[in-house]
Amino acid sequence: MNMLLSPNTQWVLLSTLILGMAAGMIGCLAYWKRQSLMSDALSHAALPGVVIAFALYGSKNLLVMIVGAAVSALLGAFFISWIRSSSRIKEDTAMGMILSVFFGLGIMLLTIVNRTGGGNQSGLDGFIFGQAASMVRKDVYTMLILGLIVMVVVWIAFKEWKLFLFDADFAQGLGLSSRWMNGIYTFVLVLVIVIGIQAVGVILMSALLIIPSVSARYWSSSFKQMIILSALFGGAAGVIGTMVSAIGNGWPTGPFIVAASSCLFFTSMLFGSEKGLVVKAVQLRIQRKEAAKGWTQQTTAMKEVQP
């Protein structure tokens, strides 16, 4: 318990809170773009960039590695869209290919860097499953600032995101450029992935994007509710996961964050107010009782016919 109260742990908790919230919000965008898997492909694709940035810079610097990860992930995104548009290969196949090729390349480079001096002590392995405890104050600042930027981008253009995600063609008709919105979307998605890989790791980063948003879907009747809830779920998962992993010495953060968000998901799936399993069962029961009483509802057409 003492460990949780140390200033360093508190800073780390704050950064995983902001990371979880930012990832939860971006996850909602990915969910409605039907690109949940894309976030997985991009986070895996970030690994070679992290390793190359480390090898070139010579020591561990979060900002440099974030730039490397971003370049690598964007390259992955570019390849995915290029394969999709220039061949008959479908997007899910393209994502599967890029994910494994980039991740394999990343692991290969990681092995080489670890063998040739310096890499061993670097804690680069932490980027695979996440090692929030290894973050220093400067890393926390970097994460906080970038995480807040992501949240602000989603929040100030909330109305535009809603329109774009619901009906991109209509949005374009109103003058909201799909190209720009797609560009900004890819930018914030990559940003949230790269700031998350130190704390959560490349393998599990996508869970922080996907799980909070689907959990939030079970409770929300408006897009605003979904974004807010997803941010809360993501933030809670980040904090709880970090706290639990801080108990053990050298425990990876990522898996515990995923475990925490999975608990939130199962609760939501069962008890969620919008199509949660329990609520659906209750509604069915009520309908059955109503049905016994007789027909009461009318369609629009029936109302119009009436005098």
Partner: protein
């Protein structure tokens, strides 16, 4: 003066040419049905004109100028199936989207915008459903919401992609009444339409399309058996005998 001028438009999907040398002009205050067989390029024509799909050649002029200068004067009703109705929002909110151009980007809607959206819903007979989740609306109700969203845009030229597909008779009547009202108010409407039986009743102009313009003009002179056969090929057997 023609409100819409299309010259020699060409477009393709992958290796298939979908539109070939499409040229026509539309006058103000007309209600035009775009009719043709499946795969004739009807929806593509709308999308290419509105720059939602790339064109290979040709040009389009709205109100004598290019699209980007008159976007606010043009309303588009996509096919109902083109969006995900499971999206967490209500009918009123969808209609409000039609006002986003006027509200301004990055600005919040005001009370007056909400009132306009409610009035449009009311006009489509959907006032009672303003706060209903769109996932809980029937197909016809969803189409009414789309129409209401187009109405609040208060555009001068409307493009509608199969607004009558899969809706019940009451909704069809309500939508057609709205289109005639728009026409009465001097607006110009182009509608992708599938039911040959109702073309004469609903539209004053017809654009028969099959990859290229087969015939275009007033319904009386254009919607002839000959032209329809030419547009649909010899496969058509169910046309009402004139």
């Amino acid at each position: 003066m023609a409100i819409l001028q299309v010259n020699d438009l060409q477009a393709a999907y992958r290796k298939n040419r979908v539109l070939d040398h499409v040229s026509f002009e539309v006058k103000q205050g007309t209600l035009t049905g775009i009719v043709g067989p499946n795969g004739a390029g009807k929806s593509t024509l709308l999308k290419v004109m509105l720059e939602l799909h790339p064109r290979l050649a040709g040009h389009v002029q709205f109100f004598g100028t290019q699209l980007s200068k008159v976007k606010t004067r043009i309303g588009y009703v996509p096919q109902r199936g083109s969006v995900d109705w499971d999206f967490p929002t209500n009918a009123l909110d969808v209609v409000m989207m039609g006002l986003y151009g006027r509200i301004g980007w990055l600005k919040l809607p005001k009370r007056c915008h909400k009132d306009q959206a409610l009035a449009a819903l009311d006009q489509m007979g959907m006032a009672d459903y303003a706060n209903r989740q769109i996932s809980q609306l029937s197909g016809g109700q969803q189409q009414r919401v789309f129409l209401a969203r187009a109405l609040v845009q208060n555009a001068d030229l409307y493009f509608m992609d199969e607004p009558l597909a899969g809706v019940d008779a009451a909704t069809e009547t309500a939508i057609m009444a709205t289109l005639k009202e728009l026409k009465g108010a001097g607006k110009t409407v182009m509608v992708v339409h599938h039911d040959l039986q109702t073309v004469e009743e609903y539209f004053d102009h017809v654009l028969l399309l099959n990859r290229t313009v087969v015939a275009h003009g007033s319904t009386e002179s254009t919607f002839t058996k000959d032209n329809v056969y030419r547009a649909y090929g010899g496969t058509l057997r169910f046309l009402k005998e004139a």
